[in-house]
């Protein structure tokens, strides 16, 4: 065992299996995310990225394996308990409350501030800070209905809504999916900005270039199994993995 002193591990996943009804989707998936890291979970459509996130959040009925958030076992808990323990989830399809205003969407996500185990404050978010991070949201004003926003604007709102829960770690599902190239660029800036503020992120991604822009490390998922893990540089150097599991 090699002991690397800080950063400590935020999320440890071991032997994670998950099913949709009778269909077995994830097979003994294991990985970890450390404090301050941005980690990419990569793979093609249908590789099991979103399923992994849903299983971590407790959103799948049938799941097995160990998931630890800062040493505490969260694998058997309900979604709301998991979210309350500091795991934030940004779903791929955004799932904005379209009948609620921007301010109300943020209010729904609000949780109390957290502290790290060493008693230093964890990143704490307010609507004001989020409006500064996303000037577009500010421009629209707090009373704009969630349903009256473009896809990219909704993407910013859904990230902000999750950040209002002051999570230790954010699960970001396909941030570059289905938004305009200019928004993709903004998303990359946003992730880097969040990282600089001490937010740890696990993101799922198909786009290698995007992942290389923002991530420290990557895991590659194929047919529900982890096929590769390493730094972004290692992934860039490994033509074999990229060709087999990532390029279309």
């Amino acid at each position: 065992m090699i002991h690397r002193e800080p950063p400590p591990t935020l999320l440890t996943v071991e032997g994670l299996n998950a099913w949709y009804g009778a269909a077995h989707i994830l097979f003994d998936v294991g990985f970890e995310v450390k404090r301050g890291e941005v980690v990419a979970l990569m793979g093609r459509n249908g590789a099991g990225k979103s399923t992994t996130f849903k299983a971590l959040m407790g959103l799948l009925e049938r799941r097995k394996g160990t998931v630890k958030l800062m040493g505490q076992d969260i694998s058997g808990r309900s979604p709301s308990q998991i979210a309350r323990m500091g795991l934030g989830f940004v779903p791929e399809d955004r799932r904005i409350f379209t009948d609620l205003t921007i301010a109300e969407n943020l209010e729904v996500g609000r949780q109390a501030a957290r502290r790290w185990p060493d008693d230093s404050p964890a990143p704490e978010w307010t609507p004001q800070k989020l409006y500064d991070l996303f000037p577009n949201l500010k421009e629209m004003g707090p009373d704009r209905l969630g349903g009256r926003m473009s896809g990219g604007e909704q993407q910013m709102l859904t990230v902000s809504r999750t950040l209002m829960g002051n999570p230790y770690l954010v699960l970001l599902d396909e941030p570059s999916e289905g938004v305009a190239p200019v928004i993709v660029e903004q998303m990359a800036h946003m992730i880097l900005a969040l990282k600089s503020q001490g937010v740890s992120i696990l993101l799922s991604e198909q786009n290698v270039h995007f992942a290389e822009l923002v991530s420290d490390r990557a895991y590659v998922l194929e047919k529900g199994q982890i096929r590769f893990s390493g730094t972004m540089a290692e992934l860039a150097a490994n033509e074999e993995v990229r060709r087999s599991y990532l390029t279309v």
């Binding site: 009804g21 959040m57 959103l59 309900s78 979604p79 709301s80 308990q81 979210a83 309350r84 989830f89 779903p91 799932r95 409350f97 379209t98 009948d99 609620l100 109300e104 209010e107 729904v108 996500g109 949780q111 809504r161 999750t162 829960g165």
Partner: protein, 630 residues
Amino acid sequence: MSSFLVQLLNGLAGASSLFLVAAGLSLIFGVTRIVNFAHGSLYMLGVYIAYSMSERLAGGVGFWFSLVFSAVAVGFIGALIEMVLLRRIYKAPELFQLLATFALVLVIKDGVLWIWGAEDLLGRRAPGLEGSVEILGRNFPTYDLFLIVIGPVVLALVWLLLTRTRWGTLVRAATQDREMLSALGVHQSWLITGVFALGAMLAGLGGALQLPREPANLGMDMLSIGDAFVVVVVGGMGSIPGAFVAALIIAEIKAICIWLGDVNFGPFSISFSKLTLVVEFLVMAVVLVVRPWGLFGRPQGTPRHSGAPEAPLRPAGKSLRWFAVALVAGMAVLPLLQGQFPYALVLSVDLLIAALFAASLHFIMGPGGMHSFGHAAYFGLGAYGAALLMKAAGLPMEASLILAPVVAGLGAVVFGWFSVRLSGVYLAMLTLAFGQIAWSIAFQWDDFTGGSNGMIGIWPSGWANNRTAYFYLTLVLVVVGLFALRRMLFSPFGYAMRAGRDSVLRADAIGIDVKRVQWLAFVIAGVFAGAAGALFVYSKGSISPEVLSVTKSVDGLVMVLLGGVQTLAGPIVGAVTFTWLQDTVARSTDYWRALLGGIILFLVLVFPQGLAGFIHDLVVKLKPNREAAR
């Protein structure tokens, strides 16, 4: 003219109570997606509790305190219902939830009967508001003016609660996407309990406020839930302002009907005041067809959790076929035992008719995927058809037994055409509306249908006019009917119907005209239900509007659900169990409804896949063990 205006004011006063009940129902539906049948019962409890309290507490303060106390108490009861019962069945199929809340209706009704008795109880008049004010030269009760004000005040309060508090924001978020809400860290069980309590409280308040206007009575639950359903559907499920506007519209239309009274159009005379029972359902039917999601509602997205896909149906195996043959043979020798069990034949005819009725409902519900809440309409059309063909047209039994199902089928052609345009809860509500329309016509058209008294002396032809012969006639027709229904499910038409149930889009894409198939299924189900109704009428010799009532429709639903929606033997098992239970339970206690409700609740909680489904699962579970033992 002044009488017209006063009648409009009357309508406004009626709208307030209606709005309170409907708003609660709508709120509960919005968050839990449960259509709470028991909401009318909560309203009734509100009236009774307010009555008891105001009788005990004297004076003006006592009276008003009683109203508030009653609302809070009913809210508390609502919370209790949510925590003890509904929380366990949120993930069950929609139909089970409806059934469970209907069982609550039965339990609460008998509970009220037990505590307060069967007599109507006339409440006190509101202290300080006993008098009347003069409006346009007519006296108008002061209390009604107070009621007119209450509606908008409550609307404003609920609106503020929903839009200006964190709790309200969370409730509105829960209405849209409960899973996402939980992934954001919101514990929802208390939120939902709170919504249920608030909805129940509004119903209780609506009831309590009604106390000075009409005596507390045991019929209030079904009447108010019917009205509230209509208001919620017309206004748009989950919309509070919609409920308010719809309550105004319905109440005013009723008021106008009363004001119009009897109107002569040349030789025809229409009694508008009698239309009050049916007019709201007409409004609802029109709204559902033109704007299915209601005036203020929005089209519902497909639910995120559509549940496990239905398992494919399998043709009967050898053992099941032999069992069916043995069963029929066993029934055929039943008349030989008439000496020992004189009642057996009478009960058997009832069981057979119930089985055909339930199987016809199952045909559109299970394989068709259309939840009909007004299936009694076709049973009743068949029954009234047979009776009228005999009484009015002078046809013999044989001819009317053949023609009565056609009458029911024609009814299904019309109702089905509208119904297949909708799906889910809305379809259920529209079929309920049609059922109510058919019922009110039979109930109020005295000259033709005999009105509430119905008709008597409808006996079989001479050869069939004894127990044994009529039993054999019923046995043959029911067995043929059941076999035909079953056969159709394994024909190309049956495949098309099931394809349409499982995915409208994909069925459409391979060239199936889903609406047409569903329409035809509706008609087929109507024909067989009509045959059951015709057999029923000749077995009893009389008919009353009871055969068209909501209760009869719900009986059918209970039978199908009892047996299991997705098993072919289900409706038969369910019909036999239910009819037999009803027969025994009803004769052994004064509180048969509560007992029946209790049994339904027990079954819903313990056998959510139905009796036949439970037996099937048991057999499947045991089989591999047997093979392993070899």
